[in-house]
Amino acid sequence: MGFPANIGELTKTIIAGVIGFAVGAVIIMLYGYDPISAYQALFNGAFGDLYSFSESLANATPLVLTALTFAIGFRGGMFNIGAEGQLYLGALATVAVSFFHLPSAMGFALSLICAVFAGAIWSLPVAILKATRGVHEVISTIMLNWISQFLCFYLIAKILVDPQRAEKTISVAQGVRMPLLVPGTSLSYGIFLSFFAAIIVYLLLWRTVIGFDIRATGHNPLAATYAGIEKWKIILFVFITGGLTAGLAGAVHVMGRPPVYAIYSGMPSIRGLGFEGLAVAMIGRNHPIGIIFAAIFFGGLLAGGRMMQLSAHVPLEMVRVVEGIVVLFLAIPELVQLLSFLRKIRPPLIFRSKRSQDEDRRRL
C-alpha cells in the first residue's frame, strides 16, 4: 500500500462521509427536525470535551476488534459477517468465568482466554463448511449469528442469571474488571487492548508469510492457488483469527464497561456491535490503522448521537442511517473519479484569478 493509494482511499472515505451526512440532513429535515442543531449536538457530544471524547473512545473499544474480524476476512477475499454472534459468546464466556470464584489475576487472564476461545470456536463451523462444502460465509455466519443469539438468551435466562435480579446475568467479579482510564467516564484500559490487537493484526497481515498468503488469496485467488497457497489453510486461519478478535470484543466490553459489568436479558448493550464493526472496517478501508481512526470517529457518532437525541430530539438511530449511506457509497470503487466532473465546471469569471482569465482569452 503506497502513500498515494492511501490518499486516494482517504479522499474517497471523506467524499462518502460528506454524502452520508448530506443525505442524513435531508432525512432529518423530512421528519421535521432541525439538521443544523442536530449535527451541532452530535459533534459536541462526540468530541466537545474530555468527557465526550472519553465516551467516544469507550464506544470505539469493541468496534476496533469487531472491525478487525471483518478486515482480516476481507483482505483474504472473504466476507466474514459473523462477528456479531461470536461477540455474544465471547461476552458470555467472560461472565461464565466469574461464576467460579477465582483469584483476581487468574480470573482476569482466564476471562480473556475463554472469551477469545468462545469466539474462535463459534467461527470454526463457518471455516469448515466453506473449506469442505463450499458454503458461502454470508449465509453460514448469519445463521450462526441467530443461533448464537438464542443460545445466549438461554444462557442468560437459565444458567448465568443473577439470583437476586432475574433480568441480568451475574456481574463480572471485582478483580476481573478493567480499571478506568479516565475516572467518571466509561473509558477503561481496554482501549489499549484494542489498539494492541490492531497493531498485531497489522504486523500479521503485512509482515508475515501467512499474512502475505492471505492478501495474495484476496487479491487473486487463482494466482494464489498456482503459487501453491493452500486455500483451506487460509480459510481456517482467517476465520479463527477473526473469531479471536470478535470474542475479545465481547470480553473487553463486559470487563471494561461501567456501571453494570453484566449482560441484561435481550443483550441491549452488546447487540449490533458486530455489524457496526463491519461498517467501521469499511470506513477504515480494512486497514488496522484506518480502523482505529474509523472506530474513534464512529464511537464518537454514537456518543454524540445520545446528545443529539437529548437536545435536538433526533433519535440516535439517525447515526446508523448515515452509516448505511456511507457504506453504500464506499462500495463504488471509482467514487473519486465519478466526482471528477466537478473539476470541469469552471467558476464564474469574477471568482477567477487574473492569470486564468488571461488563459481563457488566449484560448478564444
Partner: protein
C-alpha cells in the same frame, strides 16, 4: 394428533412460506442476471414499514403497492451502484441493510411507540375464509409467481437474455444486449418482490412492525436460492421447507408439553439451524452463473 391439527400446521407453514418464497423468487431473477443482493433483509424490513404506513393511509392494497415500490426503489439504487458504477455488490448490500435497520428504528421512535407499531385491524388485508381455514390471498401469489418466473427465465427470449447477462456478459454485450440496463432492471424487479414480501409481513401476516420483523428472512431467502440452484420451481419447495420450520417455532411455543422439555430458545433456533444444514447438504449440486457477483466492465 388428528387430521385437523396437522392441517393447521400445514396452513401455518404456507403462511410462513410466502415471504421467503417471494423474496427468493425475486433474487433468482437478480442472480440469473449476475447480481448478488445481500441487502434483501433490509429491503424486507423497510418495505414492512412503508407498506404498513401505506395501508393505514389508503387501505391494504395500497400498502402492498407501497411495499412493492419501496423494494423497487431500493433495488434501483443497489442496481445503479452495482452496474453503471461497478460497485462491490456485497458491500452495497451491507450498506442497504444498515441503512434500513437504522431508518426503521428511527421511524418507529418517530411514530411514538419505540420498537413496535401495530397495524390497525381495518387496514390489514382480509384473509379468505373457507371451511378448511383462513388463507391469505398472497399464498396463491407466492405459488403462482415462481411458475411464472420459471417460464419467463427458461421459455422466453427475455429470460435467455437475462441468463446470458449472468453467464457470459461479454458475449451478450456483443450480441447487442445492454448488460447494465438488463442487470439493473432484473435486480430491481427482484428487489420489488422482496418489498412485496415485507408488505405481506406487516399488512397481512403479522399485522405489526418491529425493528426485527424481517428476522433473517432475507438471508434465509438467499439460502433458498442456493438450495434451488436458480430454479424458481425448487424455490417453491425450499420456501415451504423453511416456512415449515419458521412456523414450527411459533407452533411449538403454544404446546406446554414440549415447552417443559425443550426451552423456547432452542425451538427458535430451528429455522436457522435447518437452513444451515440444508444448504450444507445440497451445495454440491447447485451451479451458479459464471459471472455472478462480478461487475461488468467493457474491455
Amino acid at each position: 394428533m388428528n387430521l385437523a391439527y396437522l392441517w393447521g400446521i400445514f396452513l401455518g407453514s404456507l403462511h410462513a412460506m410466502v415471504p421467503i418464497t417471494l423474496t427468493a423468487t425475486g433474487e433468482v431473477i437478480g442472480e440469473s442476471a449476475g447480481l448478488f443482493n445481500i441487502g434483501l433483509e433490509g429491503i424486507i424490513l423497510l418495505s414492512a414499514m412503508t407498506g404498513a404506513l401505506g395501508a393505514e393511509a389508503a387501505g391494504p392494497s395500497v400498502g402492498f403497492l407501497v411495499g412493492l415500490g419501496t423494494g423497487f426503489a431500493i433495488g434501483l439504487i443497489f442496481g445503479l451502484v452495482c452496474t453503471y458504477f461497478k460497485g462491490v455488490q456485497l458491500i452495497a448490500g451491507v450498506g442497504i441493510n444498515l441503512f434500513s435497520a437504522g431508518l426503521v428504528t428511527f421511524w418507529l421512535i418517530h411514530l411514538g411507540v419505540p420498537g413496535h407499531h401495530a397495524v390497525a385491524e381495518e387496514s390489514q388485508m382480509v384473509n379468505i375464509s373457507t371451511r378448511y381455514g383462513d388463507f391469505s390471498p398472497m399464498i396463491f401469489v407466492a405459488i403462482a409467481l415462481p411458475v411464472l418466473i420459471y417460464i419467463l427465465l427458461f421459455r422466453t427470449k427475455l429470460g435467455l437474455k437475462i441468463r446470458a447477462a449472468g453467464e457470459n456478459p461479454q458475449a451478450a454485450d456483443v450480441a447487442g444486449i445492454n448488460i447494465h440496463l438488463l442487470r439493473l432492471l432484473s435486480t430491481a424487479a427482484g428487489a420489488s418482490l422482496a418489498g412485496l414480501a415485507g408488505a405481506y409481513i406487516s399488512v397481512n401476516w403479522l399485522g405489526s412492525v418491529t425493528k426485527e420483523i424481517s428476522a433473517g428472512r432475507g438471508f434465509i431467502a438467499l439460502a433458498t436460492v442456493v438450495f434451488s440452484g436458480l430454479n424458481p420451481l425448487l424455490v417453491l419447495l425450499g420456501g415451504f421447507i423453511f416456512g415449515f420450520f419458521d412456523n414450527l417455532a411459533v407452533w411449538v411455543a403454544t404446546m406446554p408439553a414440549v415447552q417443559k422439555v425443550i426451552p423456547w430458545q432452542f425451538v427458535a433456533m430451528a429455522p436457522y439451524a435447518v437452513t444451515l444444514l440444508v444448504v450444507t447438504g445440497v451445495i454440491g449440486r447447485a451451479r451458479f452463473p459464471a459471472a455472478m457477483g462480478i461487475p461488468y466492465k467493457r474491455e
